[in-house]
Amino acid sequence: MADKIATRESYGNALKELGEKNPNVVVLDADLAAATKTGVFKKAFPDRFFDCGIAECNMVGVAAGLATVGKIPFVSSFAMFAAGRAFEQVRNSVGYPHLNVKIGATHAGITVGEDGASHQCNEDIALMRTIPGMVVMCPSDDIEAKACVAAAAEYEGPVYMRFGRAACPVINDRPDYHFEIGKGTVVREGKDLTIVATGVCVGSALEAAEMLEKDGVSAEVINICTIKPLDEELIIKSAKKTGKVVTAEEHSVIGGLGSAVCDALCASYPVPVKKIGMQDVFGESGSAAALMEKYQLDGKGVYAQIREWL
């Protein structure tokens, strides 16, 4: 397996590449440029980087204003503040007028680690997917994160991107990799059950699938980077084949990928669904790895939860 890299690093690197290609790209941060990695862009393009200070609500509004005059603003903060604190600004100043603002939210989920529950946003996907017209993406590795940023810049309209703090393995390094907003990918074929995963949990799902194989269970794994609009066709096709669906996400099981998948299946092809994620609880301090283990979101945890359910 290739080296591990955090998707927030990928975000910073992708922004720099984007800045070289597109002079309309501007980046805003709220005093977290070193952590969100927008500092990489700042160093390359100091005239197109704006530190808004610790004032996320205003930052989102400033981005909206910049979008109305033709800029492509990427606004960054931790997911807790970008999606949480500034939710209503995102909803009313960006979503309602459907402005071309890209939100790069880092430090999502429990892999924030040691900072603890106050900074571990497990609710951002749920919040963002309720906004009409908002694209919601959660890339699984470095390759996908970069593709996601490039696609967001090409797309006209509001986009929310979720990046992680902790380094994660590269899983999409194959020659036929192709990224498209709204398209999921079957990353492992199987016939007994389907694991639909997003973000760091795609890696966990692949590990779990390997363990299940040893038990004689053939698991199909689908990587869903775009949670909205959801690739319903791909998920339903797989559900028809396997008859059982597990969802895996580093996010609350309320309102996130699991809920989105259930919405799609309920409407067209109901099958039993096991939602793996944060089970309506807050996180806590600890290393990212220790937390993923405790909340059973790593490979072993996903495997154990599936075995228990089957």
Partner: protein, 280 residues
């Protein structure tokens, strides 16, 4: 436009406000009327805008941060030629481009959707920043309520605008002294407003919001101020022009009934007569 023409136009704007809110049976007349002279001056004298080309990238921008006073903006836009004045009768009705609060996707000429207080000013700051990035000459104006400035986001935006020295931005506070629950001084006293903006590195001008000489001088001063944004504190009378609405908090967000509408229109007709005498 000379002052007399401005006064006559502002009275037309006021009639449109009263007519729209009466037809809608809902809306916010008080703060629309208090700002009618400011709206008129902005759209008929100050701003470089063309109703025939509302998307001109080089136009001046206006963001109605106190979005609930949309009837004031709509009446001004209609009288300026952005859309027919008769459309004001569709305010707040299903299918109308005149939404309860301004929506840029529904109505050409609206530079930013607004209504959730405290948010418009941030967008205006973003527009001004965008102008600076590209060395554009356009100016950005935003109108806030004196109750609205109780929102914390207003001061986040003010801090940023001051820090970034956005001298292409003019913030106007419609200081009519009343908000829904009562006098602003009693609800959550935002005073002194001028000193607050000064402390946030704004050039501040206090002005009588119904004196076109003073308004003219203030906007000129704002245009000539370099290196810092300007805040114009416009001391106004809520409900200005309609006898029974003037200074009455109850007319913040209530529509006149048919009888009240007749009185209001008579009040405004009387102003027209006085202005005609002044002209003669």
């Amino acid at each position: 436009m000379n002052n007399l023409e401005l006064k006559k136009t502002a009275n037309q704007v006021r009639k449109g406000i009263v007519t729209a809110v009466h037809a809608a049976k809902a809306g916010h007349p008080g703060g629309s009327l208090s700002a009618a002279d400011i709206y008129t001056y902005l759209y008929f004298e100050e701003m470089k805008v063309d109703p025939k080309n509302p998307d001109d990238p080089d136009r001046d921008r206006f963001v109605l941060s106190k979005g609930h006073t949309a009837p004031g903006l709509y009446s001004t836009l209609a009288n300026r030629g952005y859309f027919p004045v008769e459309d004001l009768l569709t305010l707040r009705k299903l299918g109308s481009h005149l939404q309860g609060h301004p929506c840029m996707q529904h109505l050409p000429g609206v530079d930013m959707s607004s209504g959730s207080l405290g948010q418009g000013v941030s967008a205006a700051v973003g527009m001004a920043l965008g102008g600076k990035i590209d060395n554009k000459a356009f100016r950005v104006y935003t109108l806030l309520g004196d109750g609205e400035i109780e929102e914390g986001q207003v001061w986040e935006a003010a801090m940023f605008a001051g820090a970034k020295k956005l001298d292409n931005l003019t913030v106007i506070v419609d200081n009519n002294g009343l908000q829904i629950d009562g006098p602003v001084a009693e609800v959550n006293d935002p005073n002194p407003i001028d000193k607050k903006f000064e402390a946030f590195n704004f050039h501040v001008i206090n002005v009588d919001a119904h004196d076109f000489d003073a308004i003219r001088a203030a906007f000129k001063e704002a245009r000539e101020t370099k290196g810092m944004p300007t805040a114009i504190i416009a001391h106004s009378l809520k409900g200005k022009g309609v006898s029974f609405m003037e200074g009455q908090v109850g007319w913040h967000g209530k529509a006149p009934n048919d009888e009240e509408y007749e009185i209001a229109m008579k009040d405004l007709a009387k102003i027209d007569e006085e202005l005609a005498k002044e002209e003669a």
